[in-house]
């Protein structure tokens, strides 16, 4: 096992290197083939290596060379890394195929595909290095490589009409975050034997309260930049909007996760906090991020920007789960901590899957219609039925509608927040309740948001003047999309097989196992099983649970958030059984309706529109109209500025045009960055004001400072 895993990792790096070399040296279609084939090999190798670790539980470790004064470079694939590595492979496989297909059809020869290939493989390598780095140096170096490669990939199309500033902003923010991360490692590593993670972890247990807080705040801020948390996420929507369609799936499905990985690694693994304070901050920030993200997503009409805001929302949910886990762990409740962490990891996995799918879909829509404006789309389902189905699956999944995967992880997240009843402090409980409510509101708005995204793009009638030109190529579902849609379904229907795998990573961090309480083995357990309370087992036996043990392998198909209470069935949920029941009920209803309405035929003809001869595109609901109620209800948050309000008339009463344009400044910009920016500007002006250019003034400054310094010396 051990050797095989290592071998797979070597295979990955070799394939990656080959990819870089071959993309650089090939041309034309060969580059695309290189990208497709070598990426597939890489992705498969990653998934296989990660799966081996998760199944066997053994973490292979490689020690690289030693650099004097810095310590050893170590690579290690432990369970936490494996989960993120697995996600990475899961996303890279379809994303790379999508890249090859997209470039093959869209840009032909003119496109700088070679450069893209080089960056693509280099980024893949650096991401994997971040995930398997087991000392601060290699971690930080590969992090920096990743940041720069991201920047290059966001801007590589060099379209004159894309916002090149977006890439700079992302790079600047990444660098600022990087500094924070370095400082956090410095704080943790002060007094450690060396900067290997093992030494840091040992040191982490001895850290003072202040050092832990310092490491948390700096690390949270630094990784929060990558994870897209408020208030350091303002780069994210701009950058996602500007990024080429070939790169965003990776941006959203892979690099976003690195932020979560960093938070988990630094703040839960290496330097875990003791009390609940740090966790509470993470919980609150996560919940707020989720709400702000979904509010802006709901009112956004550019599909890419909307998906970017929705990524922020999902990041918020994940970080809220991590925060809840930190609170539980800090308060000494290991099992709830494990459950919350499982939820967070599960959501990370889910989000990567469906967001990749959605971004691929939006890329296909843009390629096919030439627009991303949902106001101008509409009626795509007729032109592109295949794309419509996979996009619908992704929308349902991200709106947390069973039987898809988003439902499971959001359900566990909310359930784990409800477990705050065990906590002692009532003020913490109140914060949990508020965050729970915020997340519930977020979930509701997410449904609105994605109903709009699907309905306004795929249903109704075509509103824009686009011609569905490339729909033949892009409209049909392709392996890269179908694969992800199936993943959405499987992850949603079979969570009981996913949770034990995640548990491998959860157990060492949360110091307890979640699988025992989340997916109890009651199928195979006899009524006299000692692990589970007898009343609980009895209940399930009475429900007939054991009958499945003959047919179904594993732990059964019921998810459970079991409390300490007597009645254990309260929090049980089985998406697997639900889908069977759902299918059965739907079939039954269909039969009944068929039987009952035989006397009556349904008139099938055009949509009824009040008798007008033809429903025109001008007369159908737009995405703006659909989300306007949300905008009105949350006006206090959006604070739209009416920048233009014209009512043009000819001869007083012949109205010829009414135009009201509103501009919104993003909440985060308004509350954080504009004040900070203003302060910096003010200070800069002050400094500039001191530079008069006259010699006398400078001499005066010098004298004043000299006096000040003398005074200081005198005083000390």
């Amino acid at each position: 096992m051990y050797g095989v895993t290592q071998g797979l990792l070597f295979l990955f790096f070799i394939a990656c290197a080959c990819g870089i070399v071959l993309s650089a040296s090939s041309r034309g279609k060969a580059t695309l083939w290189t990208i497709a084939v070598f990426s597939t090999v890489c992705a498969l190798a990653l998934m296989a290596a990660a799966a081996l670790v998760l199944i066997s539980g053994q973490a292979p470790e490689m020690r690289l060379w030693t650099l004097e004064g810095f310590g050893r470079f170590t690579l290690r694939l432990d369970a936490l890394s494996s989960i993120f590595l697995f996600i990475c492979g899961l996303v890279y496989l379809p994303a790379s195929l999508f890249v090859a297909r997209y470039l093959g059809h869209r840009f032909e020869e003119r496109y700088p595909a070679r450069r893209f290939g080089v960056f693509h493989f280099a980024l893949m390598g650096s991401v994997v290095l971040i995930l398997i780095a087991h000392d601060a140096y290699s971690f930080l170096i590969s992090w920096e490589c990743m940041s720069i490669l991201c920047y290059l990939l966001v801007n590589y199309e060099q379209n004159p009409d894309t916002d090149t500033r977006a890439g700079y902003i992302m790079l600047a923010m990444s660098e600022a975050g990087f500094l924070c991360i370095v400082l956090a490692f410095v704080i943790v590593g002060r007094g450690a034997a060396d900067f290997s993670f093992a030494a840091l972890a040992a040191q982490g247990l001895r850290l003072s309260r202040g050092a832990i807080w310092g490491a948390f705040l700096l690390g949270f801020l630094g990784f929060g930049v990558k994870a897209g948390l408020v208030p350091v996420n303002f780069w994210l929507p701009r950058c996602y909007t500007a990024a080429p369609p070939t790169f965003i799936p990776i941006l959203a499905g892979v690099t976003l996760n690195l932020g979560f990985y960093g938070i988990l690694r630094l703040n839960m693994d290496l330097a875990p906090a003791h009390g609940w304070g740090t966790g509470l901050i993470a919980l609150v920030v996560g919940s707020l991020t989720a709400l702000v993200g979904i509010l802006y997503a709901t009112t956004e009409n550019d599909m890419k920007t909307m998906l970017a805001h929705s990524s922020i929302e999902n990041a918020g949910i994940i970080v809220a789960g991590i925060g809840a886990s930190m609170v539980f762990r800090g308060s000494g409740f290991a099992v709830p901590a494990a459950i919350a962490l499982t939820a967070a990891l599960y959501h990370t996995l889910n989000h990567s899957v469906y967001k990749t799918l959605l971004f691929q879909g939006s890329g296909e829509i843009e390629a096919a219609t030439g627009t991303r404006e949902m106001d101008r789309l509409g009626g795509l389902a007729r032109f592109a039925p295949g794309l419509s189905v996979v996009f619908l699956v992704a929308c349902l999944a991200i709106s947390a509608v069973p039987p898809f995967n988003g439902f499971v992880s959001e359900w566990i997240t909310l359930q784990s927040l409800l477990r705050s009843a065990v906590l002692a402090s009532s003020s913490v409980k109140i914060v949990f309740a508020l965050c729970g409510a915020t997340l519930a509101l977020t979930a509701a708005l997410a449904v609105t948001c994605f109903v709009k995204a699907y309905a306004m793009s795929f249903l109704g009638i075509k509103r824009g003047d686009w011609e569905p030109h490339s729909i033949k190529v892009f409209g049909h579902s392709h392996f890269s999309s179908v694969y992800l849609a199936i993943a959405c379904l499987l992850l949603g229907v079979l969570p009981t097989f996913v949770v034990p795998a995640l548990n491998r990573a959860v157990e060492p961090i949360a110091t307890a196992s979640a699988s025992a309480s989340l997916v109890p083995p009651f199928f195979t357990a006899t009524p006299t099983n000692q692990q589970l309370p007898p009343a609980f087992l009895q209940d399930f036996h009475n429900l007939g649970a054991q009958t499945g043990s003959k047919i179904l392998p594993g732990r059964g198909l019921v998810l459970l958030v079991r409390g300490a209470e007597q009645n254990p069935v309260v929090f049980a949920m089985s998406p697997s059984y639900s889908i069977v029941a759902l299918a059965f009920l739907l079939g039954l209803t269909w039969l009944i309706v068929r039987g009952a309405t035989q006397a009556r035929s349904v008139a099938r003809n055009e949509l009824w529109a009040g008798g007008i001869p033809r429903l025109l595109p001008e007369m159908s609901y737009t995405a703006t109209g659909f989300s306007n109620p949300v905008r009105v209800v949350f006006q206090a948050i959006f604070r739209p500025n009416i920048v233009e309000d014209t009512r043009e008339t000819v001869a007083v009463h012949f109205r010829t045009a009414i135009l009201r344009r509103r501009e919104e400044t993003h909440l985060v910009d308004r509350l954080f960055f504009h004040p900070v920016g203003d302060a910096v500007n003010w200070f800069a002006r002050l400094l500039a004001g001191m530079h008069h250019g006259r010699l006398n003034t400078y001499i005066a400054y010098g004298l004043v400072f000299l006096l000040l310094i003398l005074l200081l010396f005198r005083l000390t």
């Binding site: 009040g610 025109l616 001008e618």
Partner: protein, 538 residues
């Protein structure tokens, strides 16, 4: 309790003679003697002076705008712009054009109320109005009809079917809201609100508030004016009475008045009195119906039920009194078709008194129902200046402090002899319109009582021989001023019949005046205007 402000409109009498003399001084025009003394006719000889002249009449002299009557004479076009000189009769501005002419100057930019008149003429006669800001899709919907049909020209045979056949797929509505993401919510013509008239609304919105409501009317266009041509007076009367039932008596009265004016018949006193009585009965019933509609639109079910019962009882009383629930078949040129006994009059009186009393109770209750008032107040506000610009008529105009009442300003029949008040409000919102409706209904109830107590005993009909000639008949219909312009040919057959209805006037005002309202207020605003699509469409 609602404040009753039943005052006469603050208008001083216009000196028509001085006005005309002034116009003669300033413009090149002849003042023609008219066949009927009530109309002063100004013939414009220089077409370029038409606009300034109309402007001067409407804005400087403060005349009300009546409408445009276009007539295709054997040798020429005759276009009449009818203005009301307040308390001093009518002024018509007459323009003659050779039949070969295809254009004439538009006055809509000066007198906005002429907008739809000009568009109608363009659609029906093919005469183009130069510099009109917005021509096109109007009566003959561009979705169905090609260009250049001109069905009101003499050469067009209306009795033959002219298949509109085509479904013009390139038709696009004219939308003005340019906000990103704006769209037009289509409502109708098979009205989504339940039982309603055929109107198609395009509610332009970006989601919550309606920025502008564009009505597309004329789904009920039956070309009444055209099919009346060549018919005798008796047949045409049927049309006049039956094209808009909610004020059928007013319209038949206006038609009869025109015929009587042509033939110079003196209607007997009793018939005149009964005509006033029946007009006021119709007004009372109409207003009760509009009030019921307003109550229904605010979803205040009990009050809607009460108002509906009042209306139905008045319908029944009308039926007992006249034999028809909508007063059909009563007016004939020269008087009325039938007489009524004293007992019938007393029965009617008690029914009307009861209705008036019940309306008072209803108003009292409504004025204490805050949920009702909240929805009406500030709903669909029409400022007095706007109302004047758009020449709003009837209760809607009077709720905005404008609205001429022909019963006062240009009295016909016996109105000069009876005492009544014309309510007027300034707020111009839905509630003001409701108050005006209530006040007018009370006034009508009182008038009915006065008339029944003072009925003359004489004949109800004078023989009326139709002659050649033309005349204008005017009546203050329940919704507002209505004008029927009629020309009878040599054999007494109708040569040109033009109906100018208050709904036509106020529909134009409605969509221009009402902008920017919440979607759920739309039915309420519409109900307070009490408009009739079929009366507008003809």
């Amino acid at each position: 309790m609602a404040v009753i402000r039943a005052t006469d409109p603050p208008a001083e009498r216009l000196d028509r003679e001085a006005l005309i003399a002034d116009l003669q001084r300033r413009f090149h025009c002849d003042v023609a003697a008219t066949e009927s003394g009530t109309i002063a006719s100004i013939r414009v000889t220089d077409l370029s002076e038409l606009r300034p002249l109309c402007r001067s009449l409407f804005w400087d002299a403060g005349c009300g705008f009546g409408g445009i009557v276009v007539e295709e004479r054997p040798q020429s076009w005759e276009v009449r712009y009818i203005f009301l000189a307040r308390f001093a009769g009518w002024i018509e501005v007459l323009v003659s054009l050779p039949l070969s002419a295809t254009t004439l100057p538009s006055i809509s930019a000066e007198v906005h109320a002429a907008d739809w008149h000009e568009r109608e003429v363009e659609d029906l006669f093919g005469l183009r109005f130069e510099q009109h800001p917005r021509l096109g899709d109007f009566i003959l919907h561009d979705q169905f009809w090609g260009e250049g049909l001109a069905p009101f020209r003499k050469r067009f045979d209306i009795s033959k079917a002219h298949s509109n056949g085509q479904n013009n797929v390139s038709w696009r509505p004219l939308l003005v809201v340019r906000d990103p993401g704006a769209f037009a919510m289509p409502v109708g013509p098979v009205y989504e609100g339940g039982i309603g008239e055929s109107v198609h609304f395009m509610l332009e919105t970006v989601g919550e508030d309606v920025l502008r409501a564009i009505p597309r009317l004329f789904f009920n266009f039956r070309a009444v004016e055209k099919i009346a041509e060549g018919k005798d007076v008796g047949q045409a009367l049927l049309l006049a009475e039956r094209f808009a039932a909610k004020s059928s008596f007013a319209h038949s009265l206006a038609f009869c008045a025109a015929v009587e004016r042509i033939s110079g018949v003196n209607v007997p006193l009793r018939a005149k009195q009964l005509r006033v009585l029946l007009s006021e009965l119709e007004r009372l019933r109409h207003h009760a119906g509009v009030i019921a509609g307003i109550c229904e639109s605010t979803a205040l079910a009990v009050s809607a039920a009460h108002a509906a019962i009042i209306e139905e009882r008045l319908l029944r009383a009308s039926c007992c009194f006249t034999g028809h629930r909508y007063l059909f078949g009563l007016n004939i040129p020269g008087g009325l078709r039938r007489d009524f006994t004293e007992q019938q009059c007393q029965d009617l009186l008690s029914a009307v008194r009861l209705a008036a009393k019940q309306l008072e109770t209803l108003e009292d209750r409504l004025s204490f129902t805050s949920s009702f008032l909240d929805r009406l107040e500030e709903a669909g506000v029409v400022a007095p200046e706007t109302a004047r610009d758009l020449n709003l008529v009837g209760p809607v105009g009077r709720a905005s402090g404008c609205g001429h009442d022909l019963r006062k300003e240009c009295p016909y029949g016996l109105y000069k002899q009876y005492e009544f008040q014309v309510p007027s409000e300034k707020q111009g919102d839905g509630y003001a319109r409701l108050r005006v409706l209530f006040q007018e209904a009370y006034q009508s109830g009182t008038l009915v009582g006065d008339l029944i107590s003072s009925l003359d005993s004489g004949p109800i009909h004078a023989p009326c021989q139709s002659r050649q000639g033309f005349a204008l008949g005017w009546v203050e219909a329940p919704i507002g001023a209505t004008l029927h312009w009629l020309r009878l040919g040599e054999s007494g057959l109708v040569e040109r019949y033009r109906i100018i209805t208050p709904s036509f006037n106020n529909w134009l005002g409605f969509h221009v005046a009402v902008e920017d309202f919440a979607f759920q207020d739309f039915p309420i605003i519409l109900a307070t205007f009490g408009l009739s699509a079929t009366e507008c469409d003809r």
